[in-house]
Symmetry: C2
Subunit: 253 residues, 2 copies
DNA sequence: TCGATCAAGTTGTAGGACAACTATTGACTT
DNA sequence: AAGTCAATAGTTGTCCTACAACTTGATCGA
């Protein structure tokens, strides 16, 4: 095998300590290569052996990365044959089961994300919030009501409650401005998992402002975000205006 | 380490050729052990080394299985520490991203599944069906309209179109009776992946019969089922009556 | 009492080897 | 000439061993 080094492969973990394990980094880079159509749908990607050569890692690491991508529905690995790019239509994009901020998702879909805050305050937790966040009723939470925009059009209304616990007081102001996850990251808080419940809702009491949909039809994503150790940090009820956002789920065995 | 063989571990692949790879079999057995609460939520499961001993397989195989379970949100693997059972509330159960028949899911939730057929016929594909199933308009499809029941209560109405292609004529009758996936399995057809789109729908034209919900509020799961090689075999629009079925999604990084 | 250090345990990565499976080629038979 | 079968190279699946990187709790010392 010739050591044909790919021209523009970003090196692994050169800058800023390279978040996560080697396999994770390889997975993310391979995902990018797949999503940018470096290999056509249904076509075979290089063998594990070749990829190990390209990235200068062991076959074990490559396998771990490939298996992860298979679990996410991007690859189809066949024993004795090779790994193939899963072929759906052209849509695919980011599935719902991948945890990322709404803002990022909107941006990735090619729109300009925006946000307007109607309420940002600190108050005691309601009974429901206390139950979900595993805190006592009345314990302080950061409560927000926001409208989420894509290209200046409202796509969702979100009602969020963040458990304060040992959050520094000054950081609360941060939350009221940009992305919540951005503010989390600055504090070293990284939600790694969310449990979401989905409902269809018809109500005139959800949206506000002039962008409010007349139909009152929403897809409710009732989420609870967890830290690595299972501690819940944020409960958010996000009402997506039906039709303005495409929700996709990959289902695999 | 003592070779303390667990008393009731089903042996791997003793009967009927043992479907799938070793790692897949181990994954399924471990999943069962997790879902039956053999280990409490948040607690550590045995080390990879121990598990390898229990199942008489290599650590690599155990790792592959554990990684798969982590991707499904059942485990949380921490470098240098161990693998922990993910702790959400008690709900969890089967997430939406796991592909399985509605019937099985209902049964697993502790209800008695049922089904009534309103329409089962062979007809030409509509434009939309042709597009989704990647066949020509007018090509024959098996079209069905079914009501899906749990404990004799309607939980969903489903409109399905199965691509006939080289389906034997006699098997079409089978479809009209029990589970569609059961009929598929008998023919050696195994959908391994589905792409689902979610919508909130408010309409009085969906349900029928006396169990029809007065609200007309549904959660629409617009699905397309694929074979391993990416060939679409069934397009189904399933309207779940809002509130009668709990939809859960695990979201991970 | 508090902090640093150490040691044991666990997951992550490496490398080599072989088994199991797939797809293609080429020879052979009819 | 066409079809069948066997050999073969290429690829993923599993095993083994070893060590690196990380976590956790115990130990020791100031």
């Amino acid at each position: 095998m010739a050591i044909a080094k790919s021209p523009a492969l970003p090196s692994l973990a050169t800058t800023k300590g390279g978040r996560g394990s080697l396999a994770t980094q390889v997975r993310d880079q391979l995902r990018t290569r797949i999503l940018t159509h470096e290999w056509n749908e249904g076509k075979k990607i290089p063998s594990e052996f070749d990829l190990a050569g390209q990235y200068h890692v062991s076959r074990v690491t490559i396998r771990t990365a490939l298996k992860a991508l298979e679990a996410q529905g991007l690859l189809d690995i066949r024993h004795g044959s090779g790994a193939y790019v899963a072929n759906f239509g052209t849509s695919i994009r980011a599935g719902l089961q991948e945890l990322r901020s709404i803002t990022d998702t909107i941006r990735e879909m090619g729109f300009e994300p925006g946000m307007t805050h109607r309420v940002v305050k600190r108050r005691g937790a309601t009974a429901d919030e206390a139950l979900r966040l595993q805190i006592a009723e009345g314990e302080p939470v950061l409560y927000m009501e926001r409208a989420i925009l894509a290209d200046d059009e409202v796509v969702a209304y979100s009602y969020d409650a963040v458990a304060i616990r040992d959050l520094p007081e000054k950081s609360i102001g941060e939350m009221g401005k940009g992305s919540v996850f951005g503010a989390f990251a600055k504090l070293g808080i990284f939600p790694v998992r969310a449990l979401a419940e989905i409902h269809a809702i018809s109500s005139m009491d959800i949206g506000w402002g002039k962008g409010r949909p007349k139909s009152g039809l929403y897809l409710l994503l009732k989420q609870l975000h967890f830290l690595r150790d299972g501690v819940p940090v944020m409960a958010s009820d996000t009402y997506f205006v039906e039709g303005r956002f495409q929700f996709i789920i990959h289902r695999t065995l």
